[in-house]
C-alpha cells in the first residue's frame, strides 16, 4: 500500500461569485522511500495540494475526495487528530526560510518544539536531541549553539534549522514546498543535497514541489506535471524526461535556460510558452492548456482522455507528442 494516496481531490475556494475550483479531481500516489517532484508554474495549485494534505488550507477553502496517509483518510479526520499527525507522521517545510522562524525564540527551542509536543520529552532531553538534529543538518553545536536567534543566521542556515525541526520526530512523509527558491544558487545545491541525503538515510517519502525542472531531474524518482489545477502528465522521472508527451511539459522543458540541443553557440533566445495561466475562475472547458497549445485540435474543447504510455507513465492529452522533447 502506498504511503500517500490522493484520489479525486478537489479543492474549492469560496468567492463572491461562487465557489472556484483550485484543484480538480487530482490523483497522486507516493510510495514510501520514493521522491515525487510536483512541477508547475505559480498558480497551478501545487502548494494547495501540499496544504490540503497537511490540512492547513485557508479557511475559505473546501476539500473533497480522499487523501490517505498510511491508510487513514486525512480529510475525514477531526482537527485534533490532524494535529497529532502533523510534525509526527507528516512534516512540511516552506518556501521562505527568512520569515518561517519565530524571531523572538532561540533556534534550539524551535527545533525541540515538536519533540516536546508529540513525544512528551522533558526539556533537557528534547534539547539534547535538538542539538543532535542541528548537527545532522550541518549546523554543529560549536558554531551554532541552541541559544542562537534566527536573525543571527543566513537564509540557507535558517532553512536547515527548519529541516531539522521538520525531521525531529522522524516523519514518514516530508513535503518540501519550493524549499530553495528563495535561496542563492550555490546554497540551493547544498540544501537540496541535504534533503536528498536525509531522504535516503531515513527512508522518507518526499513530495517535492517546485517550478524548476532541473531540480526535479536531479532529485525525483517520479514526476507529476500540473497545469491549472490538474495533473497533466505523470510517471517515473527517467521515462518522463526521455519522452515528454504533454505539450505543456515539453514547453516547460524547452524553456529551461540550460535546455540541451539549442544548437548554435553563443546563446539562443529562451523558448517561451505564449499566453498565460488562466485564472481558476475562467478556466476553459475541456483541456485547460488548449488555448496556448501549438498542437491544438478541435477535439480539445472536450475533456481530454488519459492515455497510458510505457510503465506507469500517463498523460492527459488528446494528441500526446512522441519522441524526445525538441527545443
Amino acid at each position: 500500500m502506498a504511503l500517500l494516496e490522493i484520489r479525486d481531490l478537489t479543492v474549492e475556494i469560496a468567492t463572491p461569485e461562487g465557489p472556484v475550483a483550485i484543484l480538480e479531481s487530482l490523483d497522486l500516489t507516493l510510495e514510501s522511500g520514493r521522491s515525487l517532484g510536483l512541477v508547475g508554474e505559480s498558480g497551478c495549485g501545487k502548494s494547495m495540494t501540499a496544504l490540503a494534505v497537511m490540512g492547513l488550507l485557508p479557511k475559505a477553502a473546501r476539500a473533497h475526495g480522499t487523501i490517505r496517509l498510511g491508510g487513514q483518510d486525512l480529510l475525514a479526520l477531526p482537527e485534533e487528530a490532524l494535529c497529532r499527525l502533523r510534525g509526527r507522521r507528516m512534516a512540511m517545510i516552506f518556501q521562505e526560510p527568512m520569515t518561517a522562524l519565530n524571531p523572538v525564540k532561540p533556534i534550539g527551542q524551535q527545533v525541540a518544539e515538536s519533540l516536546r509536543q508529540h513525544l512528551g520529552l522533558a526539556r533537557a532531553d528534547a534539547e539534547a536531541r535538538a542539538a543532535k538534529l542541528l548537527d545532522r543538518v550541518g549546523l554543529p553545536q560549536a558554531r551554532f549553539p541552541l541559544g542562537l536567534f534566527p536573525h543571527q543566521l543566513s537564509g540557507g542556515q535558517r532553512q536547515r534549522v527548519l529541516i531539522a525541526a521538520a525531521m525531529a520526530c522522524g516523519p514518514d512523509l516530508l513535503i518540501a514546498d519550493e524549499p530553495t527558491t528563495a535561496l542563492d544558487v550555490t546554497i540551493q545545491a547544498q540544501v537540496l543535497d541535504l534533503i536528498a541525503e536525509l531522504v535516503e538515510s531515513e527512508g522518507l517519502a518526499l513530495l517535492l514541489i517546485t517550478h524548476d525542472l532541473g531540480v526535479v531531474a536531479e532529485m525525483a524518482d517520479d514526476v507529476a506535471v500540473m497545469y491549472s489545477g490538474r495533473i497533466v502528465e505523470a510517471g517515473p522521472a527517467t521515462a518522463l524526461f526521455r519522452q515528454m508527451a504533454h505539450p505543456y511539459a515539453r514547453g516547460l522543458f524547452a524553456a529551461m535556460p540550460q535546455a540541451p540541443g539549442s544548437g548554435e553557440e553563443g546563446g539562443t533566445r529562451l523558448a517561451t510558452i505564449p499566453g498565460r495561466v488562466p485564472n481558476p475562475a475562467e478556466r476553459p472547458a475541456g483541456c485547460a492548456f488548449a488555448p496556448r497549445c501549438p498542437h491544438r485540435l478541435p477535439g480539445c474543447a472536450f475533456e481530454p482522455p488519459i492515455e497510458h504510455l510505457a510503465d506507469a507513465h500517463w498523460v492527459r492529452c488528446l494528441a500526446p507528442r512522441r519522441g524526445a522533447p525538441a527545443p
Binding site: M54, L56, E79, E80, C83, R84, L85, R86, G87, R88, A91, M92, F94, E96, T99, A100, L101, N102, P103, V104, K105, E113, S114, Q117, H118, F149, H151, Q152, L153, S154, G155, Q157, R158, L162, A165, A166
Partner: protein, 318 residues
C-alpha cells in the same frame, strides 16, 4: 546592549532637562506678580518688595532656574503660598489618591482590553468581533468625564452602591477608600481600554498571518497553541508601546476625572494651583508629571530590548 542603554539614557536626561527649561520659561511668561497676589492689592510697595526679595523674585532668571533645578534634585521643593505647606508634603498627601487611582485604571483597562482584543482577533469577521469593534468605536468617542457623569447617575444616584464623589480617606479603611476610587477608575479606564483593545486585535491579527505561526501549525500545534506560544510575545510589542503612550493620556485624564469626582489628588491640585497662581506648586507638579511620562516612555523603550532579541544582540546572518 550597553550602547543601546547609554544612548537611551542620554536621551532621557536631555529630554528631562529641556522639559524643565520649557516649564520654567512658560511660567516666566505668566502675567501678574506673585507677591502682589499673595499680599493683595491693598499692600504697600515696600512690603511687596520685601516679600519679592524673600521669595527670590528679584534675582536674575538663570540663577532662579538653577536654584529651582537644584532644589528639585535635592528634594527641596519649596513651599506653597496658598496652602502654606511644603510642596513635598502636599504632593505626598495627594499622591496617596492619584497613584492608587492610576494603578486601578491601568489594571482595569488592561484586564478588559487584552482579552477582548485577542478574542476579537480569534473570531475575526464573526459577530463577536463585530460587536467588540463596535464597543471600541463607542469607547474612543466617549469623553471620559461624560462617562463619569453617567456612571455617577447610574451607580451612585440610582443604585447607591458607591459614593457620588469625594474621597473616603485611607483612615476609613482600605475598602472604603478603594470603593470611592472605583467609579473614577472605571471612567478613566474605559476610553483607554477601547484603544488598547483595538491595537491588541490588529496586532494579533497581523501576527496570525506570519509565516512562523504557519510553521508552528505544520509541526502539529493547534491554532490556539500556535497563537499563544508564538504569537503573543510578538504581538505584545506594539501593545506595550501603546500602553506606554497611554500613560500620559491617563495623567491628563486624572486632571479631569479628579475634578468630576472631587478627589483630592494631584490632578485637582494642579488645576487649583494654576487657578490660584501658586507658581511654586505648578512648576514642581508639572515637571514632576512630565518627568513621570518621560520616564515611562524610557522604560517602554527598554522593554523592547527585553521582548525583541534582535535589538539586544544585533547582527545579521553570517
Amino acid at each position: 546592549m550597553s550602547v543601546f542603554l547609554a544612548k537611551r539614557g542620554l536621551a532621557l536626561l536631555l529630554t528631562l532637562l529641556v522639559a524643565s527649561l520649557v516649564v520654567f520659561l512658560v511660567m516666566e511668561v505668566l502675567p501678574g506678580d506673585p507677591a502682589l497676589i499673595i499680599l493683595g492689592t491693598g499692600a504697600q510697595d515696600d512690603t511687596i518688595a520685601a516679600l519679592r526679595q524673600q521669595m527670590g523674585l528679584d534675582r536674575p532668571m538663570m540663577e532662579r532656574y538653577l536654584a529651582w533645578l537644584g532644589g528639585l534634585l535635592t528634594g527641596e521643593f519649596g513651599e506653597s503660598y496658598t496652602y502654606g505647606k511644603p510642596v513635598l508634603t502636599l504632593i505626598g498627601e495627594r499622591v496617596m489618591v492619584s497613584l492608587p487611582l492610576a494603578v486601578m485604571a491601568i489594571v482595569l483597562s488592561t484586564a478588559i482590553a487584552l482579552p477582548l482584543g485577542v478574542a476579537a482577533a480569534a473570531r475575526h469577521g464573526r459577530p463577536a468581533d463585530v460587536a467588540i469593534m463596535g464597543f471600541v468605536q463607542l469607547g474612543v468617542a466617549v469623553p471620559n468625564f461624560w462617562f463619569a457623569m453617567l456612571l455617577i447617575l447610574f451607580f451612585a444616584v440610582n443604585l447607591g452602591w458607591v459614593p457620588a464623589g469625594g474621597f473616603a480617606g485611607w483612615e476609613e479603611g482600605a475598602l472604603a477608600a478603594l470603593l470611592s476610587l472605583l467609579l473614577p477608575a472605571i471612567a478613566l479606564a474605559l476610553p483607554q481600554a477601547a484603544i488598547l483593545a483595538r491595537v491588541t486585535r490588529s496586532s494579533v491579527l497581523e501576527v496570525m498571518q506570519e509565516d512562523y505561526v504557519r510553521t508552528a501549525r505544520a509541526k502539529g500545534l493547534t491554532r490556539g497553541q500556535a497563537l499563544w506560544r508564538h504569537g503573543v510575545r510578538n504581538a505584545l510589542i506594539p501593545v506595550v508601546t501603546i500602553m506606554g503612550l497611554q500613560f500620559s493620556f491617563l495623567l491628563a485624564g486624572t486632571i479631569i476625572i479628579e475634578n468630576v469626582f472631587y478627589l483630592p489628588g494631584l490632578g485637582r491640585l494642579i488645576f487649583q494651583a494654576i487657578a490660584q497662581r501658586d507658581l511654586v506648586v505648578v512648576k514642581d507638579l508639572v515637571i514632576l508629571l512630565a518627568a513621570a511620562v518621560i520616564l515611562v516612555n524610557f522604560l517602554v523603550d527598554l522593554s523592547y530590548a527585553l521582548l525583541d532579541p534582535r535589538l539586544r544582540l544585533g547582527g545579521d546572518g553570517h
